[in-house]
């Protein structure tokens, strides 16, 4: 397998486009998500994205607040203990973003259906509720018969629902560690990343650590996203910040609240974009923006022991820079990664 390392800028410019059907992984409200990839999507000015989001997360909140997406299909529209996502809420209530409701089981079932090439997925959840009967995409249709149509089990004659499959054109998935070929290990819940990686037409990984392939050969059972599914790998430390990455960093409590508050108004969202989306260019500047003290705080957490088995295979920054030059995506005169 080739070396698939790619810079953040090139990954977004090469693999995203306006009006695309996009999914982020794990799209957890507090945990794993490809948020730095999303920041770069915002920075590059993508519009009209149709977002398939297992859950709301700060990436969804950011996209909704800044008008990057106009349609979202998701299972949960909160930020758990961090509260209601104010950017998303503002956009949905104003009608600038339309949110189509599913649930935390039906979203991964829809990814699974797409991954298997099924026409639909039979379901015993979401039926008999307004998730079935109300469609934000088809607001005139009540009771809606085309969102989760009622079907008869051909074997028993009993009623169940038919979920539409969910097939993103691109999934950007945050992982704890990946090798240069795109084999990935995920610490913490994988949520729906296993199904999502198989449902999407194309997959980009955003990895906190790049490790040697020897690590994958030592723990092949733990590689839940194999290289053959992956187009490219973006190495990026603290890429889910201010959300958490189990084994490496905690959620940044202060920034989670501040970000959510700022996204609650158009002015605040513009200010957030200026400082935390457009205000840095390189990995070093990104880390400097978070700050040494904060990084020390969030990387001191009760899960760091989970990384112990893998530490010997982690590539250094210098090694990654060298590997970037050898990547299939490297231009002959490639500048330093940014």
């Amino acid at each position: 397998m080739p070396n698939k390392l790619i810079s953040l800028k090139e990954a977004v410019s090469g693999f995203t486009y306006d009006s695309m059907v996009y999914a982020s992984g794990a799209a957890l409200p507090v945990g794993s998500d490809s948020l730095v990839f999303g920041r770069e999507i915002v920075r590059q000015g993508r519009k009209n994205i149709h977002y398939l989001a297992h859950c709301c997360c700060q990436q969804v909140n950011l996209f909704a607040a800044l008008g990057v997406c106009d349609k979202i299909e998701g299972g949960f529209s909160g930020l758990e203990v961090y509260g209601f996502p104010s950017g998303l809420r503002r956009a949905v209530e104003a009608g600038t973003v339309v949110w189509e409701d599913y649930s935390n089981l039906s979203m991964p079932l829809r990814f699974l259906g797409a991954a298997l090439g099924w026409p639909f997925v039979p379901t015993t959840v979401n039926i008999g509720s307004d998730i079935q009967w109300r469609s934000a995409f088809k607001p005139d249709e009540y009771s809606c018969k085309s969102k989760i149509p009622e079907v008869k089990d051909p074997f028993t004659g009993k009623i169940c629902g038919a979920l539409p499959v969910a097939k993103p054109e691109l999934a950007a998935i945050h992982v704890t560690m990946a090798d240069i070929e795109g084999n990935a290990i995920l610490l913490g819940t994988e949520w729906s990343r296993y199904e999502l990686a198989r449902a999407a037409d194309k997959v980009i990984l955003q990895a906190d650590f790049i490790v040697d392939t020897a690590c994958m050969r030592q723990y092949p059972n733990l590689v839940r996203i194999p290289d053959l599914l992956v187009e490219a790998v973006v190495p990026w430390q603290l890429g889910a910040w201010p959300q958490c990455s189990v084994g490496i960093y905690d959620s940044d409590e202060e920034h989670m609240y501040m970000m959510n508050k700022m996204l609650g108004s158009a002015d605040g969202a513009a200010e957030y974009k200026a400082k935390y989306v457009d205000g840095w260019n390189t990995q070093e500047e990104f880390l400097a923006m978070i700050g040494k003290e904060k990084i020390e705080k969030i990387t001191t957490n009760p899960t760091t022991h989970l990384m112990d088995p893998y530490r010997k295979w982690i590539k250094t920054d210098d090694e990654i820079q060298t590997l970037m030059q050898e990547s299939r995506f490297a231009a002959p005169t490639q500048a330093k990664q940014s």
Partner: protein, 260 residues
């Protein structure tokens, strides 16, 4: 011992858990109620989160989410959403789920999706107030053998008709749930800050089963948006014992439930 209404509600919810139950909790109050039960009277109950984090006890305070480091530090298994909500919940294997609600009706249908200016309008336009949506609640309400709804008892929350059925209770009552062949049995209790409601076995309409030592039937009725019936066997919920409060407070390390 003094206790808050929130603590009474959490303990009353926790009492619904039986030793040996396989349980699923959400974040926040339901997690505290659940872990209280495990710490006190149900040490052999098994807890899981919808993220598929199994075998864990939170460390360092109430988790920020079902997936964060506080709940992941001592887990025995990291799995996924289809495993937890699918293989273990929608399969019908899970004994008990605890969910919250922004709004509930007399048949235990729950709204956590939003409020609309005119919820009777067939046109489904943008909500006046957007809430969190289902998360795993719809899946838990459809699949768990027993569901406990835990919520503040306020007039605006106890509505004759909910704006949106996020999680099905007994729909229009009676045996309507059977039409959908849900693997789960539906809500067994609505535990509130004033008392406990349980469904009539035939009509499935929720009635006052017990009220707390500090509340009353009148107070519960006054805070309910339908003509709330009273069980013929109505009684007073036993107040928390010192042991129960001690166990709850050992779980509620951040004092979330101590707020009056």
């Amino acid at each position: 011992m003094e206790f808050t209404r929130q603590e009474m509600m959490a303990i009353a919810t926790g009492r619904e858990i039986r030793d040996g139950d396989l349980c699923i909790f959400g974040v926040g109050l339901s997690m505290l109620a659940g872990y209280f039960a495990l710490a006190y009277h149900a040490p052999n109950a098994i807890s899981m989160t919808e993220g598929g984090v199994y075998g864990a006890t939170p460390v360092g305070g109430l988790p920020w989410g079902i997936e964060d480091n506080r709940i992941s530090a001592n887990a025995t298994c990291f799995s996924n959403a289809i495993d937890a909500l699918g293989f273990l919940v929608s399969s019908g294997k899970c004994d008990l789920g605890i969910i919250g609600a922004a709004q509930v009706d007399k048949f235990g249908n729950v709204n956590t999706t939003g409020f609309w200016t005119d919820p009777t309008n067939p046109y489904f336009g943008p909500p006046k107030t957007r809430l969190t949506g289902s998360g795993g609640a719809n899946d838990i309400g459809s699949g768990c053998k027993r569901v406990v709804i835990m919520m503040a008892h306020e007039l605006k929350r106890f509505a004759a008709k909910v704006d949106y059925i996020t999680t099905p209770g007994f729909l229009n009552g009676g045996n309507e749930r059977e039409k959908y062949n849900f693997p789960g049995g539906g809500p067994v209790a609505i535990v509130t800050t004033l008392g406990i409601l349980r469904p009539d076995p035939v009509t499935k309409e929720f009635m006052i089963d017990t009220y707390y030592p500090f509340s009353s039937i009148d107070e519960m009725k006054a805070n309910t948006g339908w003509d709330l019936k009273v069980s013929p066997n109505v009684g007073i919920t036993p107040e928390p014992t010192a042991g129960e409060l001690e166990a709850l407070r050992s779980v509620d390390v951040t004092g979330m439930l101590k707020k009056k």
